[in-house]
């Protein structure tokens, strides 16, 4: 036991003496949360809209006022001809154009049927989609108000309710994703590097000749990064609750335990990578290219897995972060308990066990 403590102390010396790396490890998660939470939001606010109002009546005027009043749009320009529409898009001064045809008010009130055309700049399809959705919603609201006034018997109003995240706050999506990324990066990359460093420096041989058991070397390497990860989990959660206003709806204890499980999984993965690589560069390369990229792409955090081709959907199952991401969303955002995430938990536990077993086995083989 004393040997174990001596070893862990040494590891902390390595970590604390490398100030630059330590700084990155502790500050990176904070910066990422802030960037993802504020800058990379997929909400669209104050988009420029241009209006071609042909009808120019009371109805069209109040609809335009409604659009302009919403926080999503800002009325950029009133257009006077169809030709100007194309021009607006080419200049990039409007993302959306609304065309209100002749006799809008009359059609609406007398025939109970009016049309409005929305033209969007779909060079960025996601933004275009979001904008048309927002505009449709505003138009629907407007329509509802008018029909209320007139008490028409048959109107179908679709009512959309966004569950768990009524404001469609982008941070709800990013916080679980960033947690997965940060933990994976710190634990996997750093443990892999620290072990390979010993191989490069030649100190690993000395350790292997010493009475230290290989398992002990491997575990002692992992402990400091586990501690560091817990600090990061706490700081990410504090930031997201207090700054990004993402609530922890479920059990905090469960969330922490699941995060520690994911950390252990990442640590074992790092140990596994270190047993396969001989230099720090190759450890870094394997961690980043073979692990980090698939995690970003296939965990469901950037791109929805449901929309992927079947092959990719199947591959996504071997990405540990996918399961953790599901767990965090379920526990943190939806507020459900272990009964809903036991499958994911088991999968993560299984992966941890598998990686650790292979890593320790490979470590021993090198001795024989």
């Amino acid at each position: 036991m004393k040997q174990f403590i001596v070893f862990i102390k040494k590891e902390f010396h390595h970590i604390f003496r490398d100030k630059r790396t330590l700084f990155i490890l502790l500050v990176m998660p904070v910066v990422q949360i802030i960037i993802f939470g504020f800058a990379l939001t997929n909400e669209v606010k104050n988009s420029k809209i241009a209006v071609l109002d042909i009808s120019k009546d009371a109805g069209s005027q109040s609809l335009i006022a409604e659009i302009d009043a919403s926080k999503y749009f800002e009325l950029e320009k009133n257009l006077y001809s169809y030709k100007q529409i194309d021009e607006e898009f080419r200049k990039g001064s409007a993302r959306l154009v609304m065309v209100i045809p002749r006799n809008f008010n009359e059609d609406l009130l007398h025939f109970n049927k009016a049309t409005v055309q929305l033209i969007a700049d779909a060079s960025d399809p996601n933004v275009a989609n979001t904008l048309t959705n927002y505009a449709s919603a505003i138009i629907r609201d407007y329509q509802k108000r008018i029909t209320d006034n007139h008490n028409l018997p048959y109107t179908i109003t679709p009512e959309i309710k966004m569950l768990y995240n009524p404001q469609l706050n982008g941070a709800f999506n990013f916080v679980p994703g960033v947690m997965a990324m940060v933990l994976l990066l710190i634990c996997t990359l750093m443990t892999a590097i620290t072990i390979v460093k010993e191989k490069e420096m030649g100190t690993m041989e000395i350790l292997l000749v010493s009475p230290l058991r290989p398992q002990m070397v491997v575990l002692a390497k992992a402990v400091p990064y586990l501690a560091l990860s817990i600090v990061n989990i706490v700081s990410i959660l504090l930031l997201s609750v207090n700054v990004l206003e993402v609530p922890v709806n479920g059990s905090l204890v469960l969330l922490l335990l699941e995060s520690i499980l994911f950390t252990l999984m990442s640590l074992s993965l790092g140990l596994l990578i270190s047993s396969a690589s001989e230099s720090q560069q190759s450890a870094m390369f394997i961690s980043l290219v073979a692990l980090f990229l698939p995690t970003v792409m296939l965990s469901g955090f950037m791109f929805p897995i449901e929309n992927m081709p079947l092959t990719l959907q199947l591959i996504s199952n071997i990405i540990p972060a996918k399961w953790y991401y599901n767990i965090v969303r379920a526990v943190m955002i939806k507020g459900i308990g272990i009964r809903a995430v036991w499958k994911e938990t088991l999968i993560l536990a299984g992966m941890t066990f598998l990686f650790l077993a292979i890593a320790i086995k490979r470590f021993k083989i090198r001795l024989a």
């Binding site: 010396h13 390595h14 420096m201 041989e205 000749v209 009475p211």
Partner: protein, 247 residues
């Protein structure tokens, strides 16, 4: 000088078809400085790794400090010290911390570590550098420190794998003084080298060619037997027979 510390009998290591070490047999006595010579790829590092418990032999027998290399690996590890050609110390730890760490992993008590540390610092005149990071001290000191760390836990045998690579002749001679001091306290020294002037410092040398032991005797006797001017000469005569080239 009669207690046997290392003994091997037809010790062999094969990697697939390749026989790295081919049926070597020798004994090393307590307090002896035993030199292991050979060109690159002659198999000296492989032989040493088997004795240290880093590699399992393919066949043959060997005991180190009285323990069997197949079955009593853990006991061997407690009784040997090892220094590699990289002078493996932790560069981002201080001189003191390195000693504390190595003492600690051998399970030594705090009192032992403290007393031994101050002894070594005095012996190497390193007191003023005790709290400096290892990366800031000169190579020659690092090398002596690495040796002192390898025998920190007072093992019966210390294995030195080309310990003097990359240092100048004056530093090398200083280093050998340390080795003699250690041998005087009864520590057995097993050293691989390809510097022939160093071979002459050894009590006995064993010359390996292509995985086999080609000659084993005291340097003086070898020079006589091979009718040579110096160890250099002996080595060249023997090494010319080599078929294998490099590793």
């Amino acid at each position: 000088m009669n207690e046997i510390m290392i003994t091997t009998e037809k010790l062999t290591k094969k990697f697939g078809e390749f026989t790295a070490v081919d049926q070597i047999s020798f004994d090393v006595h307590k307090g002896e400085i035993f030199g292991f010579l050979g060109a690159n790829g002659a198999g000296k590092t492989t032989a040493m790794r088997m004795l240290c418990g880093l590699l399992l032999p393919t066949s043959g027998k060997a005991t180190v400090a009285g323990y069997d290399v197949y079955r009593q690996n853990e006991k061997i590890k407690r009784n040997i010290g090892y220094m590699s050609q990289k002078f493996s110390l932790y560069e981002d730890l201080t001189v003191k911390e390195n000693m504390k760490f190595y003492g600690g992993i051998y399970g030594k008590s705090d009192a032992y570590i403290k007393q031994k540390t101050s002894f070594i610092l005095d012996q190497l005149h390193l007191n003023s550098e005790a709290n400096k990071l290892v990366k800031s001290i000169p190579l020659g000191w690092k090398q002596k420190l690495a040796f002192s760390v390898a025998i920190f836990h007072e093992p019966g045998i210390v294995f030195l794998d080309e310990p003097t690579g990359g240092v100048d002749p004056v530093t090398r001679r200083d280093f050998w003084k340390l080795i003699y001091e250690a041998a005087d306290t009864g520590i057995t020294i097993f050293v691989t080298t390809h510097y022939m002037d160093e071979a002459e410092y050894c009590n006995r040398v064993c010359i390996m060619v292509d995985g086999r032991i080609e000659a084993l005797d005291s340097p003086g006797q070898l020079i006589k037997t091979y009718n040579a001017q110096s160890m250099d000469d002996v080595f060249l005569k023997l090494a010319r027979k080599a078929v294998r080239v490099d590793d």
